[in-house]
Symmetry: C2
Subunit: 147 residues, 2 copies
DNA sequence: TATTGTTATACTCTATAACTATA
DNA sequence: TATAGTTATAGAGTATAACAATA
């Protein structure tokens, strides 16, 4: 039925909102000299205690390993991460945050939080929590579901 | 407070879900020979009764006019739209769907609907409606709010 | 042979700047 | 001068293919 295509409406609304948030986020990251992809990679690197290999980082970013090379090159050139040979396996490269990388971490999170804040401002605190809960359920289902 | 950063969680969950949906959508559109941006433009063109000018299309897509040129070039090359001079103002170009453009329209919508269907499958019908309602409220607020 | 990372290359999406034609 | 569209160019994000080093 056309008039009750909840899923089709979701597609449109969801993608449009995401587009706005990505733009806002990019604008907020620009002053820090970082692109969204670089920021995302840095957040993933920072999340883990143990240093990640390039392949692991690619897997977490849901991206092909070659694509990570470019991003890490930029982060390394910016002095935010460094590459180190894995002593246990000489094929592998370990990525680690530098002190400068640690220092920008909080600002990256804040930039993204602010972008979300702007987007979701029209919703009440309760509505935001409802939205978060729905997305969290979705995310856990996907993670559990193998994809 | 760190442990109750609803907005920060929203940022992460929202962007991750959107990324998955965009990928899924791109995969479903590829067999039709269309990219997501081309598909989106064609849907906007198809939505209106009166033919759109390039500037209008750019405004609806929230994109700079120059970016529309490339997209319309591709759609025209694919035989899905055609450009026609505006008799009322010779500076303007009007974009119209061809019969072939009309013919693929339903398949574009279906590709996107399927992408959303895949993403939101873990949610119940009621949850999807709740999600849609939240996003719809967000969207109407933004539209009303001037941005 | 399989895995890890890289060089080389290409495509999509979008942007800014400068130019043309028209108003 | 202001508007509509374009040519020229660039940068971000990501992909495939081929290759070297290592396992």
């Amino acid at each position: 039925m056309e008039s009750d295509d909840t899923t089709g409406q979701l597609a449109e609304l969801f993608l449009r909102a995401a587009r706005r948030m990505r733009r806002n986020q990019a604008d907020r990251l620009a002053p820090l000299g970082l692109t969204p992809a670089q920021s995302r990679a840095l957040r993933v690197i920072a999340r883990d205690e143990a240093p990640l290999r390039m392949v692991d980082l690619a897997a977490r970013l849901e991206v092909v390993p070659r694509s990570v090379t470019t991003v890490v090159d930029a982060l390394e050139a910016a002095g935010l991460v460094r590459r180190a040979a894995d002593p246990a396996n000489r094929r592998s490269t370990l990525i680690m945050l530098t002190p400068a990388g640690h220092a920008v971490r909080a600002r990256l999170h804040e930039a993204r939080r602010q972008a979300a804040e702007d987007l979701f401002a029209p919703l009440s605190a309760r509505q935001r929590e409802a939205l978060r809960d729905l997305l969290a359920e979705l995310d856990s289902s996907v993670s559990a579901g193998g994809l």
